[in-house]
């Protein structure tokens, strides 16, 4: 029965397999402004895999998570929160992790306006306006909440107002413009922005840095075959040995990809449990 069912599924799935489109999801952890770099990344994968790759970009983490759960995406470059969330529900496998500045990790930055010379902790922002990146972002939401809880504060009432900005870059904009007094962003995003749009990051100041977390991983849905995952991993890990791949990596401000270990995200999982997000 099972064999028949597999056969039927296989036959039904044939046209899809024949199309062989690989759907690659991107979360706002990657700057939208770096879309040309992402397109180059897609083209690179397309050439190496020998099959079409479709880039699917969504503004919110939740949408990306949903699409993976619904198997509308095969592969996705996500952030720590979605990975832990999806992994917790046993929906994805880790394909690779980027090595950034020589380390497979990133942090959360607490940023404030450049005019604010005193703040060094989120605890000093009582009754201020605070900008979060996304409700499903570890660095952009969970980390400040965790810090507040650890200090015995209620994140719901500590700030006078909070809002979500649909992306880490927008947190930087909100803080730079004065819309928010503080915000929490992905260090990978802020550091990339500091290179691409230094005049924007110059209006903000990093007031605090969190501990290190596993860097935003590339994951594959469970419906993707082990072969495909293996091939993709091999291509990603070999990018830095290839002149074209190196160029794309430089544009993405990534040193290279490593196989990675899901234990890198244990700290994230722990914090998410603590804040009730898992």
């Amino acid at each position: 029965m099972a064999a028949i069912a597999v056969t039927i599924l296989f036959v039904l799935g044939m046209p899809a397999v024949a199309a062989e489109v690989l759907r690659l999801g991107v979360t706002p952890v990657i700057l939208h402004d770096q879309y040309s770099a992402m397109l180059a990344f897609r083209n690179y994968l397309e050439t190496k895999l020998g099959r079409p790759v479709e880039l699917v970009s969504r503004n919110s983490y939740r949408q990306t998570i949903d699409m993976i759960e619904r198997r509308e995406l095969d592969v996705a470059w996500v952030s720590a929160f979605p990975y832990v969330y999806l992994h917790h529900h046993d929906n994805v496998r880790l394909v690779a992790m980027p090595l950034i500045k020589g380390r497979p990790t990133f942090r959360a930055y607490l940023i404030v306006s450049a005019d604010d010379k005193v703040t060094s902790s989120v605890l000093q922002l009582r009754d201020k306006i605070f900008a979060y990146a996304d409700p499903y972002s570890h660095t952009g939401f969970v980390v400040p909440k965790y810090d507040l809880r650890a200090a015995g504060e209620d994140p719901k009432t500590f700030f006078s107002r909070t809002f979500f900005c649909a992306g880490h870059k927008n947190v930087v904009r909100a803080v730079a413009s004065g819309l928010a007094d503080g915000g929490s962003v992905d260090s990978f995003v802020w550091d990339s922005l500091a290179v691409v749009e230094p005049e924007l990051t110059a209006k903000t100041r990093i007031a605090g840095r969190s501990q290190e977390f596993g860097s935003p991983p590339i994951v594959a849905g469970h419906h993707v075959s082990n072969d495909d995952v293996g091939r993709l991993r091999r291509i990603l890990l070999g990018m830095n040995e290839d002149p074209e791949g190196s160029l794309i990596l430089r544009k993405l401000q990534v040193d290279r990809f490593v196989a990675g270990d899901s234990r890198s995200f244990d700290g994230v999982e722990e914090m998410m449990r603590a804040t009730g997000d898992l």
């Binding site: 306006i129 006078s160 107002r161 979500f164 900005c165 927008n170 909100a174 819309l179």
Partner: protein, 485 residues
């Protein structure tokens, strides 16, 4: 000096120039005011269009409590990087306020902090908040706060009656001023160019208008003090009022001249008549004793005078008395001499008499005589007149020159014209031409013309001297058919 007393030469161009300048300024001012108002209107229209485009998006953001989305929507149109800093009509800020008059989001959050009460943003905003409370902000409106450089455009953020707040667009009134100044600068340049063309034209035209009037005035002022000159007709050729003024002036001048000439002639005649009377009276008074003296000398000479000295003295006396008699005789022109009538022969005799003199000087004589038969005029006197005039002409003519004599007779008068091409007589000399002992006479006693005048006058005729075509001409008219009795 009163500027209204200025000469027309300056007044017309100045007035014209003043009018041109005033017109240019008035038109420029009207256009500028209109441009300013249109720009202000445009600012409001642009703002209304912007607000209408933003309001639905802001409504959606407010429904979801999405501060970021509201900020993103209102800040995008004001993003300096996207639209450039000098775009006209740029809003200073766009503020989203909720129904509690608290800032929900703003394009420039540093100027309007999220969560702040609208009143706390400044006195202008307090006034706006009050206005919104009073009219409930039910419709869009433009508010201008006194003493504020800003305009406030408010628009309800509502959908199908559900009102979430108000969109407040803060405009700087002067935001279009750079553009307005640019347009105004073009206007001023155009006006200056126009003035540069019109003012010289106006100046030229004004001077042209005034010049004939000025000339006329100057000439009129001369009337009565000196002999005025005629106006140059080429100065003004049109047949309008000024043209007819020119013509009238010239006619008046001609009449004045004629009258002056007439007066001069009358005066001369009066003077000559008085002189003639005086001369005749003196001559008569002298003639009587003179006759006695001459008779006495005659008697004395009849006796034989042996004393040589006495004989010499008597001869001296006789010569002196003869000279007096001759002079007095010349002064005393007696026309009342019995004479036969003038005949063709008499005129030809005169020709024979003067020809030797004429030939001696090598002159060319142009002779015309149409007297045929007898004319009822005393022959002796006419001959004397003719001889006098011809001899004078011969003297006056230039060597190898020309003289002309024309004797013409008609039914009732004899006309004689004698001309020579010698030196012309001056105006001054003309005035004293017929007086006795003329300084003009280089030889003789200067009584020739005096005698001629007296004869002509006593015969009831006229004699005139004139300068015609470079020739000195004497014309005599004698009424014929009247023999002196």
């Amino acid at each position: 000096m009163n500027p209204l007393d200025l000469s027309y030469r300056h007044k017309i161009p100045l007035w014209g120039g003043l009018l041109v300048v005033m017109t240019a300024f008035a038109v420029s001012a009207v256009l500028m005011v209109q441009t300013y108002e249109e720009m202000e209107d445009d600012l409001v229209i642009d703002t209304a269009t912007l607000a209408e485009a933003l309001a639905p998006e802001v409504f959606a953001a407010m429904v979801n409590g999405n501060i970021w989305r509201a900020y993103d929507v209102v800040s995008t149109p004001l993003d300096r990087k996207r639209s450039g800093p000098n775009l006209p009509g740029k809003a200073e800020n766009i503020i989203v306020v909720d129904n509690n008059m608290q800032v929900f989001a703003a394009a420039f959050p540093r100027l309007a902090r999220v969560g702040a009460d609208l009143e706390t943003l400044g006195p202008e905003f307090t006034a706006i908040a009050n206005q919104l409370r009073v009219n409930a902000g039910s419709s869009e409106s433009v508010s201008s706060i006194p003493d504020s450089p800003r305009l406030f455009y408010t628009m309800p953020i509502a959908d199908q009656g559900a009102r979430l707040g108000t969109l407040v667009v803060v405009l700087r009134k002067s935001s279009f001023m750079p553009r307005f100044f640019e347009i105004a600068r073009y206007g001023v340049v155009a006006a200056v160019v126009l003035l540069g063309l019109l003012l010289p034209f106006n100046w030229y035209w004004g001077r042209r208008m005034a010049e004939p009037l000025v000339q006329l005035t100057e000439r009129m002022r001369e009337v009565g003090t000196q002999s005025p000159k005629e106006l140059d007709p080429s100065l003004y050729t049109h047949r309008d009022e000024i043209g007819s003024l020119f013509m009238t002036y010239n006619r008046m001048l001609a009449e004045l001249k004629e009258k002056g000439e007439l007066e001069r002639q009358v005066m001369q005649a009066d003077r000559l008549a008085a002189l003639g009377q005086l001369a005749a009276g003196v001559a008569h008074e002298i003639n009587n004793p003179l006759g006695g003296m001459l008779m006495a000398i005659d008697t004395l000479k009849g006796r034989s005078i042996t004393d040589l000295r006495t004989a010499k003295t008597i001869a001296l006396l006789e010569r002196g008395l003869d000279q007096i008699k001759e002079t007095v005789g010349a002064l005393l022109v007696e026309a009342k001499v019995k004479s036969r009538s003038l005949s063709e022969r008499d005129i030809e005799d005169v020709l024979v008499l003067v020809l030797p003199q004429v030939h001696k000087k090598g002159l060319h004589l142009d002779w015309h005589n149409d007297v045929v038969g007898e004319v009822a005029l005393p022959a002796t006197l006419v001959r004397q007149v003719l001889i006098n005039l011809l001899l004078n002409a011969t003297h006056a003519a230039a060597p190898q020159g020309q003289i002309a004599c024309n004797v013409h007779v008609s039914e009732d008068q004899l006309r004689v014209k004698v001309a020579n091409d010698g030196r012309l007589i001056t105006d001054e000399q003309m005035g004293h031409l017929f007086e006795p002992f003329s300084p003009l006479s280089e030889e003789g006693h200067g009584l020739g013309l005096w005698v001629t005048y007296q004869i002509v006058h006593q015969l009831g005729g006229t004699i005139t001297a004139s300068r015609e075509g470079g020739c000195m001409q004497f014309a005599v008219q004698l009424p014929a058919g009247r023999m002196p009795t």
